[in-house]
Every structure is written in C-alpha cells, then in structure tokens.
Symmetry: C2
Subunit: 308 residues, 2 copies
C-alpha cells in the first residue's frame, strides 16, 4: 500500500482502557457495513472477555495453541471447528436465529460435523445402510408445507451411523455407507430402509474431545430413553424431534415388503419456505435487537447499525 494513502487516525500508547476503541477505529476503514459491524462486536466481546478474566499470557498462548490444533486436525472429512462451535452451543444458537420456525412447522437442529457432499442418489425404498450388525429399520416419511400441501421432488439428505455409532467417514479404509440423497414423490412421501439409530460419541480423539474431558462433559449424543438424552454434547435435542419406534402391522408389512413386527419409524415433516424463513428471520432480528437497545436496519437480509 502506498503510504500516502494511509488514512488511519493516529494511535499510540495503547492501554488496557483505550485499546478497544482504537482497534474499532482502525477497522472502521472497512467499506462493508456488515463486516464492519461484525468486527466491532467481535473486538468488543473479545476484549471484554480478556478484561473480565484478566487473561494471562500463558492462558492466551494455550488458547491460541488449542485453536491451532483444532485447525490442523481439520480435513476433507473432519471439521473440528464445527465440533467446537457445537459443544459451545454456538451452532444451535446460530441455527435458531437463521432458521426460525413458526409453531406449526418441524423444528431444525444442528448439521453436525458428519455431513458429506457426495452421497449416492438412491431411489425410494432402497437400503441406505449395509451394516449387517444393525437392526433393520423401515423409515416412512411425508413432507408438507405449512398449508398442508405435499412437497414433491424435494432433495432430502439423509445420514446415520453404523451399529457401533461411527459414521462411514470416520473409517480410513471404507467407502460411503449409511447416507444418501433421495427425492420426495409427487405426494410428498419418501421412504427407505436403514438401521436402528444408536447413541454415539462426537469424535473425541482431538482437541475438542480433550476440552470436554477437562470440563467433565461426555461426548455422547442423544437417543430416545438413553441416559444421555437430556445432556446432548451439542445441545441439539428438541422434544418434537425425539421419535418413537413402532412395529410394522400386516398392512405396512405387505405394502413395504418387510416382515410383520419389523421396526418402523414414521415422521411427518412440515417445512417452511425460504420466503417464510426470510420474513420471520428479519422480524425476529429487528425485535431482538430492539430489545437489546440496538437501532438497526436490515440490508441484504442482515442487520447493520442504522446511523441515519
């Protein structure tokens, strides 16, 4: 950068008390109003965190070393920063704000670190898991909008662990299994064969697992009636998403070609549209920030300070 172009207000002799305003002032060069707002709040909270804990140099270094390890263990099939965000409750918080749901629709939860981008496309009724140790499970679903209209040809991304509680991508030497992309039928239904879900740990052999251990938390996610059900490591449990497993009666058995008494999971999803989400998200953002005493306007769907 040409030094004659330096238009930064002078700053020198920064102290515990004036550093924050100076960093915010230098960042105010940013032309992107949203990024500027995000950085202003980030720097404020980061500094307040350090001031309120009187963070020591040794702790600061341990924190940076921890973050470095979190970054370095990431790979194409492992995202440890998502995991860290999950166990700190940030993921579910962001999801709640970005994907608000009206009472008549199905709640969302966290994506988690095991989503893959290249699962096979399967047809209705196909088998997604080939783990012979798992108990076979018939899954029967419907997909409707908030007016009760079937949603046809929706892209549905499905993934589950094997019977030992591990995802395919956690094995170095195996291909994809237990996951697929499926399209809903014209009446909004979709169904497939899977295995009974089991409780499973988040990957706890990395820095996030070590942190949980130091804090005294366990790495397990919920299953129904499981001792871990109400203490999900990633805070994703919602009552409405905990399901009962039923058994196939004669009619179901015949229709889906499974033995009577075969385990079956039924779920009716009610989805809201992008437009409904967008309206609700903006309405809730303005309301929440108004409560916090922050005057904002919505630009490109996201709040920035309203300076007018």
């Amino acid at each position: 950068m040409d030094p004659s172009q330096v238009k930064i207000p002078p700053m020198k002799d920064l102290t515990v008390d004036n550093i924050t305003e100076n960093v915010i002032r230098i960042n105010s060069l940013c032309q992107d109003a949203r990024l500027k707002y995000i950085l202003e709040r980030l720097v404020t909270h980061l500094h307040d965190f350090a001031r309120e804990t009187r963070l020591s140099t040794a702790e600061w270094m341990a924190g940076l070393q921890f973050l470095t390890e979190v970054g370095q263990i990431c790979s194409d099939v492992r995202q440890e920063f998502i995991l860290l965000s999950d166990i700190l409750g940030l993921s579910i918080l962001v999801d709640s704000m970005d994907h608000p749901k009206p009472p008549n629709s199905t709640e969302g939860t966290v994506l988690g670190p095991f989503h893959a981008h290249n699962p096979p496309n399967l047809e209705q009724g196909e088998t997604i898991s080939h783990d012979e140790q798992g108990e076979p499970l018939l899954v029967l679903c419907t997909l409707r909008d908030t007016q009760g209209k079937p949603i046809a040809n929706a892209k549905i991304d499905i993934w589950e662990t094997d019977s030992t509680g591990h995802y395919d991508v956690q094995y170095a030497d195996r291909g994809l299994d237990g996951r697929c992309i499926m399209r809903s039928a014209s009446d909004g239904t979709f169904w497939f064969k899977a295995i009974m879900p089991v409780s499973y740990p988040i990957p706890h052999d990395g820095p996030v697992g070590k942190l949980l251990q130091r804090v005294g938390r366990h790495p397990a996610l919920y299953i129904r009636n499981d001792p871990y059900e109400t203490s999900d490591a990633v805070f994703g449990v919602k009552d409405s998403l905990v399901v009962d497993i039923s058994r196939a009666d004669a009619e179901i058995a015949k229709k889906y070609n499974v033995p009577e008494g075969h385990a079956a999971l039924k779920y009716d999803f009610v989805l809201i549209s992008d437009q409904e989400t967008k309206s609700l998200r903006e309405k809730k953002a303005v309301e929440a920030l108004d409560k916090l005493g922050r005057k904002v306007k919505i630009v490109n769907g996201l709040p920035v300070p309203d300076l007018d």
Copy 2:
C-alpha cells in the same frame, strides 16, 4: 463414560434465549475454578456476539472456514493465530494486563510472530546481521532495575529483519540471521552490531492478510518518522519505545571500533522483577474487576469468582 455417571442437569428444547445459561450449567461440571470462569465468560461473550449481530449460518461457516485456514497455515516458523490476535489488538491487551509496568520502568510491547527458539549465542560486540545491503548500526544498551542497580548476566533475546523488511524465517532456503541471544555484562551493559531497522509488513499472504485487505488496513509495522508510525498493524507503538538514531562521535568511534559518524542507537532499559510484576498484576486485576462489579479472589495469581 459410564452413563450412570452422567450428572448433568437435563436440558432440552434450547432456544436463543436459554442456550447460554444451559451451556454454562453443563460446563459448571468443570472442577478447575479458573477454567470454569474462563469458559463462562467465553460462552457468554461468544453468544452475545452472535445475538447482537444475528450471525447468519453463512457468516458462521465463513468464520469457521477462516479459522481453519489460520490453523492450517501455522508451522514451526509461522504462527498465524498470534498474528490474528495481534491485528485484533488482543495481544497488546493481554500483555498490558499480564506485564503491567510502573511509570519508572521500560514499557513492553507485543512479541509478534517472528520469535525463534534457537538463535545463536553471541558475545558482546558481535554482529547479529550479515545482510550487506543494510546500513550498519551500532547498538549500545544498559539494563537496570527500578532501584538503578545494573542487571548482570541477563539473557537478552534480539531479533530484526533484513534490509528488505523480511525475517530470516520467512525465507525457505536460508539459515538464521539477524537474531541472537546475548548476556548482559557485570555492569548491566550490552552492545552489538546490527543493521538499521526498516518498516516491514506482517506476513500478509495468508488468511490474516486477506482480512486486513478486506477491512482496508495495511500490514506495515512502525518505524520512526515512517508514514505508518501511528497506525501499526499490531497496535504495538509506544512513544517511549520510539528511538532516535544518533551518530558515533570520536569517543564512541574509538571505543567500539567504528568510523566516526557511524549510526548508533542507545537505549537504557529499566526492568521490573517477577515479584514486582506479580504484585502489580494482582493489584490491578482486583481493582479492574472491582470496577466491573465482579467479586473475585486471586488463586495462583489469577482471578476466580469469589463465591463465599
């Protein structure tokens, strides 16, 4: 972990409004009072940051991806997380709190990302830089305590860039140069030959450099009378640490075996002891947290909530 050992209070149906208290409750299992306090403040500020910005899923993912890149570019000779902390003003803030200085002592500044752990041990008067393009500089220093007593045999860690503003470790194919460890003499003096400092950029070919560019900031550090002097990218400039370069007079020239008029830098350091630092640090921590309305006690030199 044996599920019967799960002693976590139940939590379900977490919302934007109750997630923070629930994460803090689950982390309160932590037996280490200091870590528990740090996590409580971290989670509070992280969540408040997300709530006040209504952080979107796309922004959250971009942030995690950025942190992943910061971690992945780190190596034995590059610490991008320190750099990120530097440009956000966190490093100078933590240093100010951890190494408070009374008015009669030399101020500190940020370590920066270019410190190396294995520089050569050099004797007094030796040359630390072998860059023939640099203007030779004689450096004459003294080291005293706050009572004015010379500090003998102190380990002094010295490093500077070459004449193009790059540190040795930034070259893939060169050995260490421009750095050394030296011991002060019995009268507290130390001196060596170096080259004139030049302004230089922090490494800006990685994610932190990209962030600075998006914000409209420059990556340069200060030199005296430099256009960048008052807008140091890492907020490290302190008036008392900005020095004038003098010229060797006949006496200096003779004593140190340099030509008359040779560039010379003189600096008298006044250092405080570990014990002085510790007392001042604890006193300031209690005062600052009292001002913030936080009742704390000092355990192992660091504050934790005083719950008694």
